[in-house]
């Protein structure tokens, strides 16, 4: 099966990523044994003991061999900062990041596609410049600034947003744990009260991220639409007398979608890991902030696990994008 072959072909890349991260972590300054032995009165003996427990007293090639064997058997190590196995931590936190990223992406697409189309329909006009301004603002304002601003306006001043910490109201009962995606879980169980609560918690962080990713999506849509609107078949469709909506959405947009899909895939992969600032501002229990905390604490295992996860996610996303190509454009197929 072609898909299987594709996956197999990306294995060497994954291996390279894993080895590279492993070596990089050990080259970074900061000795985890010292950092974690920082209880009052910890002396040299405690530090050495900790080093032995962490396996850091062995030579690097030996450590690498152990690590690769562990990864192959599904053991990504244990996090010193949370005290849990890394695989368990990532499995718990990935749905949170995914839910946030997907929602933000959908929100961004809902805004970006119409804006891009409108800008393409009237290039050079006031509307076009307006869209350009909105996109630039969205990209220039860093996510933690826009996040804090949104919290200030909607929570502190207006009071319409719920308290901006975590995925669900802290006083409410814990959600059913089926897939880890709260919107899906609540819908499956039929708890619409809970669904509304989870959705309202999701709004502010998703809006923050959507603002940031608006620019590439809208600009790519605009550029692609411009190219397509000037092509022969659109001219023919118009001259034949087809309705405006039909020409733009059914014929032009569908053909302009390929580059937009590519950009969406890239944006999605980067958002998944790089939304760490949004996760910090909104106390969102995602993989980005997990990896950052581990990195700052010289905790190797979670960072390596996170990088492996992101590399795998990138490979999978590329596969999905290629599949979507096949749907959007019947001339393309996975070769």
């Amino acid at each position: 099966m072609r898909v299987g072959r594709r996956l197999l072909a990306s294995a060497p890349a994954l291996l390279g990523v894993v080895v590279f991260t492993f070596l990089l972590m050990r080259v970074l300054p900061g000795d985890p044994a010292v950092f974690f032995a920082s209880g009052p009165n910890a002396g040299q003996a405690e530090i050495d003991e900790l080093r032995r427990v962490l396996g850091l007293d062995k030579p690097i090639p030996v450590q690498l061999a152990h690590y690769l064997y562990d990864v192959a058997t599904g053991n990504l190590g244990r996090s010193m900062t949370t005290g849990q196995p890394v695989l368990a931590d990532l499995a718990e936190r990935l749905p949170a990041s995914l839910e946030l990223t997907v929602t933000a992406l959908i929100l961004a697409l809902i805004l970006a596609l119409p804006l891009g189309i409108l800008a393409a329909l009237r290039p050079g006009s006031l509307l076009d410049h307006g869209v350009r301004l909105v996109c630039s603002l969205g990209v220039c304002v860093p996510t933690f600034v826009s996040g804090l601003l949104l919290i200030y306006v909607f929570y502190v001043v207006l009071g319409i947003a719920p308290d901006p910490t975590g995925r669900i109201d802290i006083f409410a009962a814990s959600p059913p744990d089926i897939t880890g995606f709260l919107l899906i879980d609540f819908a499956l169980v039929g708890d619409w009260e809970g669904w509304r609560a989870a959705a309202s918690q999701l709004m502010l962080p998703a809006a923050t991220m959507a603002l940031f990713t608006l620019a590439p999506l809208a600009r790519m849509t605009r550029a692609s639409m411009l190219a397509v609107l000037g092509s022969d078949f659109v001219r023919t469709a118009r001259s034949v007398g087809l309705g405006r909506f039909r020409v733009i959405v059914v014929y032009a947009l569908r053909n302009a979608l390929l580059p937009v899909i590519t950009i969406t895939g890239i944006v999605f992969s980067t958002m998944l890991g790089a939304n760490v600032l949004v996760e910090k501002v909104f106390s969102w229990p995602g993989v980005g902030s997990y990896a950052l905390d581990a990195l700052l604490g010289s905790d190797y295992a979670p960072v390596q696990g996170f990088v492996l996860l992101m590399a795998s996610a990138f490979v999978l996303v590329n596969l999905v994008i290629d599949t979507l190509y096949g749907i959007a454009d019947p001339r393309v197929s996975i070769e």
Partner: protein, 541 residues
């Protein structure tokens, strides 16, 4: 197989429809507590272990353990500057309802309270107490080095001497022996439950106790999501409180919210009840708006210090240290970094210390002329270049400090490069003694003066930041530790303070406030030695 459009669309539909893989309806929660009976604390740190002795544990673990586990004894409470604070000199029983001390101070007998039970309902036995004490000194954890400061070193010191009596024997009369049984590390564990989850190479259940509790304290852990939140519910059968009373709050939610401004907003809007680690810069504005209550207590068992590495030139020369100590802009730093919130440790003018209280105001004053003269005497008439370092986590106050230090030292010819590093990196460099000049915080759970000197002014361990090695101080510290005569003790301490003032291995600059911000109707906040919230104290008016 070629994906064409039709097959792709059909595939997508299939995936969307086949989403549900069995539905498990969540069991209905226990009757929800009212909002008033629930306390929500938001903090910047994380809870990463339910066992405070776990290596690599965070400071927040200590506060949690005080509520989920009991200890044999506990410190009392006294009125302090700004609010109630812990009293190390007034120890009363917690799990033990009576404590007997022998006349020579070498034997303590603890009478375990009748009817005390663990969270799972089984009774507390002397075997449990003995196991817990053995674990405290034997396990590979953070506990042994700390409790050794009170002469707790071997399981042979602990014995069961009656059906409800456990005895602790000391080799010498150590002033901190009893105090060390009141700290989070000295927790009493349900040994039957713990042993069931121990293994041959983990006989003290270190791994299991990280994620589970086997205690008998005032609160039971209901849910624990490491790095995110911990939810506690009150132990309705708790007997070890003052007068046998239960704490007020039936449910405690301890949540990690990394962003300081969000924490402040949450408390001000009433969605959170208490937070003790807001940014110092936010507190004046909060006080002014007056929507919440602020309890500000100077952290009398902690200090901020500017450290000179006495093992590295040019700071191995006492005159250089004295010179720089005379060039530090103390008052300006205190205002810029701490907004004047705290207790100063500089500004005194004595040459012989008047009393044995420590930490205290030391003769550290800004005097640039004296600084220049001392520097010339030390052989650096044109100054020298050095670096000043601090950890990322301290940036909020250390950054202004660093800027002011750089400016002031520049005036006597010392060129300072400011270096900010991640906490783990600076820890390593401090241990390896590679930093010449840096700032750090020191704290002591058992703040007796000789303990401060023993920890921060002697020894090869990491807490002796400056690497200070003065033979007279080393000798005095050992003698003071076991000194039972208070006059002799005071004399020894005064001599140590004088040496520290003269040699200046580090300039202790201030004791920052702990600004606890809470809802107006939350009462009872007490400042404890572990600098965390003790939930048992709090109630809603």
């Amino acid at each position: 197989m070629n994906f064409n459009r039709r097959q792709g669309l059909q595939g997508l539909l299939g995936v969307a429809a086949g989403g549900a893989i069995g539905t498990t309806i969540a069991a209905p929660e226990a009757a929800a507590q009212t909002r008033a009976e629930t306390l929500r604390q938001v903090m910047g740190g994380i809870i990463n272990s339910l066992d405070p002795t776990t290596p690599g544990g965070t400071r927040e673990n200590f506060g949690l353990a005080m509520s989920t586990y009991d200890r044999l004894a506990s410190f009392g409470v006294k009125a302090g500057e700004g609010g109630p604070t812990f009293d190390m000199d007034n120890i009363h029983g917690e799990l033990a309802d009576k404590i007997d001390r022998s006349a020579d101070g070498l034997t303590y007998t603890f009478h375990i309270r009748e009817g005390a039970t663990w969270h799972d309902g089984s009774p507390v036995t002397t075997a449990d107490v003995k196991w817990s004490l053995d674990r405290m000194v034997s396990a590979r954890s953070l506990a042994p080095p700390q409790v050794a400061s009170g002469s707790h070193t071997s399981p042979d010191q602990y014995s069961v001497v009656g059906d409800r009596q456990v005895q602790v024997k000391l080799p010498r009369p150590d002033r901190l022996a009893l105090g060390n049984l009141c700290i989070p590390y000295a927790m009493m564990i349900n040994s039957e439950l713990a042993k069931k989850n121990a293994s041959a190479d983990d006989p003290w259940a270190m791994n299991w106790l990280k994620e589970n509790t086997a205690g008998g304290g005032a609160y039971v852990v209901e849910t624990n999501r490491p790095g995110q939140q911990v939810v506690l519910r009150r132990n309705e059968t708790w007997k070890n409180g003052k007068g046998g009373a239960l704490p007020f709050f039936k449910r405690i939610i301890l949540q990690t919210v990394p962003e300081a401004s969000t924490r402040a907003s949450l408390v001000e809007r009433g969605d959170a009840d208490i937070s003790i680690d807001l940014a110092a810069s936010d507190v004046p504005a909060i006080l002014q708006r007056g929507r919440v209550k602020v309890v500000s207590v100077p952290q009398t068992n902690a200090f901020q210090a500017i450290v000179f590495n006495t093992q590295q030139a040019p700071f191995d020369n006492p005159k250089v240290r004295q010179a720089l100590a005379a060039a530090l802009p103390y008052e300006a730093m205190f205002q810029a970094a701490q907004f004047g919130r705290g207790r100063i440790l500089f500004g005194a003018h004595w040459t012989q210390v008047p009393d044995a209280a420590f930490p205290r105001t030391m003769p550290l004053n800004l005097d640039l002329d004296r600084a220049k003269a001392l520097l010339a005497e030390a052989g650096h008439p044109n100054g020298f270049a050095t670096t000043f370092s601090f950890a990322n986590s301290m940036a909020a106050f250390a950054e202004p400090m660093a800027a002011l230090i750089k400016e002031s030292l520049g005036r006597i010819g010392v060129e300072v490069t400011v270096q900010k590093m991640p906490d783990s990196q600076i820890s390593t460099m401090v241990v390896e003694r590679r930093l010449p000049f840096f700032t750090d915080i020191g704290s002591a759970w058992l703040p007796s003066p000789d303990y401060f000197f023993r920890t921060y002014f002697t020894g090869a361990h990491r807490w002796n930041y400056s690497g200070f090695n003065n033979p007279e101080v080393n000798e005095l510290v050992q003698a003071a530790r076991f000194e039972t005569d208070s006059a002799k003790y005071d004399t020894a301490v005064k001599r140590m303070i004088n040496i520290a003032a003269e040699q200046v291995p580090m300039a202790m600059v201030w004791q920052a406030n702990q600004d606890a911000v809470m809802a107006k109707n939350v009462d009872g906040f007490t400042y404890w030695f572990h600098r965390q919230v003790d939930f048992r104290d709090l109630k809603r008016a």
